[in-house]
């Protein structure tokens, strides 16, 4: 059976589990022939899924729910990431030491579906994001951490496993920085989950295939957690751009392992509820306007974990 997986971002240790499962033959053992398509800043995985370019994709719950509201009937079938790796990283010298210092500062944010947790947080803090002196100025930050290094922004969005370390690699020490983890701020949302089209799930054979896929993938993830360095090397082998460095991927794997720890692939309903609450609570422009229904299912994980 052939399965195509669309990733949310470029090939990196963030997706180590899938590459490991492919490389270690876990998929093959299940009788699956898996193709992994890397994503990138210009890939909207949902579109690929709907266009028939993939059977299953990795996406974040906020953007998945937003897509559902736009009429894309996608369903979460598994949640390998237990915790959120998002945080805001600030330069100490810019005068930020706590959320109360944000007022009047310029903050870099990822858009394209990743902005919701941030916007919710700001509305929780009561800070308008329109650039007024009472609030914060928001920049749509690009792919890298330059805005912080160039001091174009006081804080930028980073992932614990990636951009943060790029800042460190650039020569700043952790002492120069102040970080705000979304987990700690109570605005964490569920990140990398696996999603498929709802109507496909009506076919028991597809559910069966997905169960095999999830089982093999989770095996990959657990293998990666136990052998982070080897997993990083496998990711490196699969990077066609030749841009990744070994040290960075090994470190990323270490951090990612912290986020997948504690998940067997099953979506934790409480986490889900919390994410939904966060998203619906977002100030004037909430991401989703009504309680989503049927946005997730345990059908696949139940079968996979039998």
């Amino acid at each position: 059976e052939e399965v195509t997986l669309q990733l949310k971002w470029v090939t990196q240790a963030q997706f180590a589990g899938y590459y490991v499962a492919l490389d270690q033959g876990f998929y093959e053992e299940e009788g699956l022939e898996v193709t992994i398509k890397p994503g990138g800043p210009d890939v909207a995985p949902v579109q690929v899924l709907l266009g028939g370019g993939a059977d299953v994709m990795v996406d974040w719950l906020p953007s998945a729910l937003a897509a559902r509201e736009q009429g894309a009937d996608i369903v979460n079938i598994a949640q390998p990431f237990k915790s959120s790796g998002m945080m805001l990283t600030c330069l100490k010298e810019s005068g930020v030491s706590g959320p109360e210092d944000f007022k009047g500062k310029t903050l870099g944010v990822w858009f394209g579906g990743n902005e919701y947790p941030f916007l919710n947080w700001m509305s929780k803090l009561g800070l308008p994001t329109d650039g007024s002196p009472e609030g914060v100025t928001v920049l749509k930050q690009g792919f890298n951490v330059d805005p912080l290094l160039q001091k174009q922004a006081a804080c930028i969005s980073t992932m614990t496993y990636n951009e943060y370390w790029q800042v460190i690699d650039a020569g700043l020490s952790p002492d120069d920085l102040v970080t705000f983890k979304y987990e700690d701020q109570g605005v964490a949302t569920l990140e990398d989950g696996l999603y498929v089209m709802a109507d496909k799930l009506k076919d028991p054979a597809f559910v069966e295939t997905m169960a095999k896929f999830v089982r093999a993938s989770m095996k990959g993830w657990k293998w990666a957690e136990e052998n982070p360095d080897d997993a990083a090397m496998i990711v490196l082998d699969n990077d066609d751009t030749g841009a990744q460095t070994e040290s960075h991927q090994k470190r990323m794997m270490g951090e990612v392992a912290k986020l997948t720890a504690g998940s067997d692939g099953t979506l934790d309903e409480a986490d889900y509820k919390r994410t939904v609450a966060t998203l619906m609570g977002g100030g004037s422009d909430p991401v989703i306007s009504k309680e989503p229904e049927g946005a997730w299912t345990h059908e696949v994980t139940d079968k996979a974990l039998q």
Partner: protein
């Protein structure tokens, strides 16, 4: 070659300016770092440090040269870290796209000058098509093509063709209309068919315009191929190198890829120029 000396002079001037700019732009970081470490740096200390940063604002020429050299000669050309490998991937899409785009552009231009309905209806929409931000619809093109089973080289070539056909249309429409009244009247007295007028008058008369367009078109093709690489997951090609370099803030990698792309572009434009010189000379038009 007579042009070696002038080129070298200009390059030398640029390199000198570049070093100056690199020193100026990278100095801030050195000073910041020193301040964070609580030390003082003298000017003499700053200078060398601006030339060897790992993530400079502007890498020094020798850093880029080194990056290029390692990318081109430092690897097996089949290696994923080889610029030759990535360059070839981009080049093949560029050439295919340029072929499609130029062909389409010339055909459209021919249609536009011969058919009023086309002139009046296609031209405005050809213009409109070019104002659509390609990066925005590239993913959709890729998705759509993907869903009908087209993937690999072709989607990239389609985007590259999309960018290159327009300069060709604009230039060729003007060129094909450039013969003066008397030249057209002459054919008219022969009752030459439109096809004959095209081959014997309009096409030769359009040559200077065509080549100007082709130069712009082939550079646009390359940009298109690079843009097309981004939404395909940027797995390989100079575009992927640019993007991943940018994503990881590896300035030197960006600049190396950028220069590789520019070298390819300059070479392509140069080839078109060489063909132009030969064609015009054969046509007795190079005086």
């Amino acid at each position: 070659m007579r042009s070696i000396l002038p080129v070298l002079t200009v390059v030398a001037v640029i390199v000198a300016l570049w070093y100056g700019a690199a020193a100026a732009m990278n100095a801030q970081w050195v000073r910041d770092q020193a301040a964070r470490a609580g030390t003082e740096v003298s000017l003499a200390q700053i200078l060398p440090r601006t030339m060897s940063q790992e993530r400079p604002v502007l890498p020094a020429p020798h850093q880029v040269a080194k990056g290029l050299w390692e990318g081109v000669a430092g690897q097996k050309i089949t290696s994923k870290r080889s610029l030759v490998y990535h360059g070839w991937i981009t080049l093949s899409a560029t050439l295919l796209g340029f072929g499609i785009g130029t062909g389409l552009g010339i055909l459209l231009a021919i249609g536009i000058i011969h058919n009023r309905a086309m002139d009046q209806s296609v031209m405005p929409w050809a213009i409109a098509s070019q104002t659509i931000p390609i990066l925005a619809i590239a993913p959709m093109i890729i998705v759509v093509l993907n869903s009908i089973g087209v993937s690999g080289l072709l989607p990239k070539a389609v985007i590259s063709a999309y960018l290159s056909f327009f300069p060709v249309v604009v230039g060729m429409v003007k060129g094909l209309r450039s013969p003066d009244a008397m030249q057209l009247d002459l054919l008219s007295t022969y009752n030459a068919s439109r096809a004959q007028a095209f081959w014997k008058l309009r096409l030769p008369a359009s040559m200077p315009y065509l080549f100007a367009s082709l130069k712009v078109g082939i550079a646009a093709s390359l940009v298109g191929a690079i843009v097309g690489e981004l939404p395909t997951g940027a797995v390989a090609g100079l575009g992927a190198r640019l993007l991943s370099g940018s994503y990881y803030g590896q300035t030197i990698q960006i600049w190396s890829a950028l220069f590789a792309a520019a070298i390819v572009a300059a070479a392509l434009v140069g080839i078109v120029g060489a063909i132009q010189t030969r064609v015009l000379r054969r046509m007795g038009m190079a005086r």
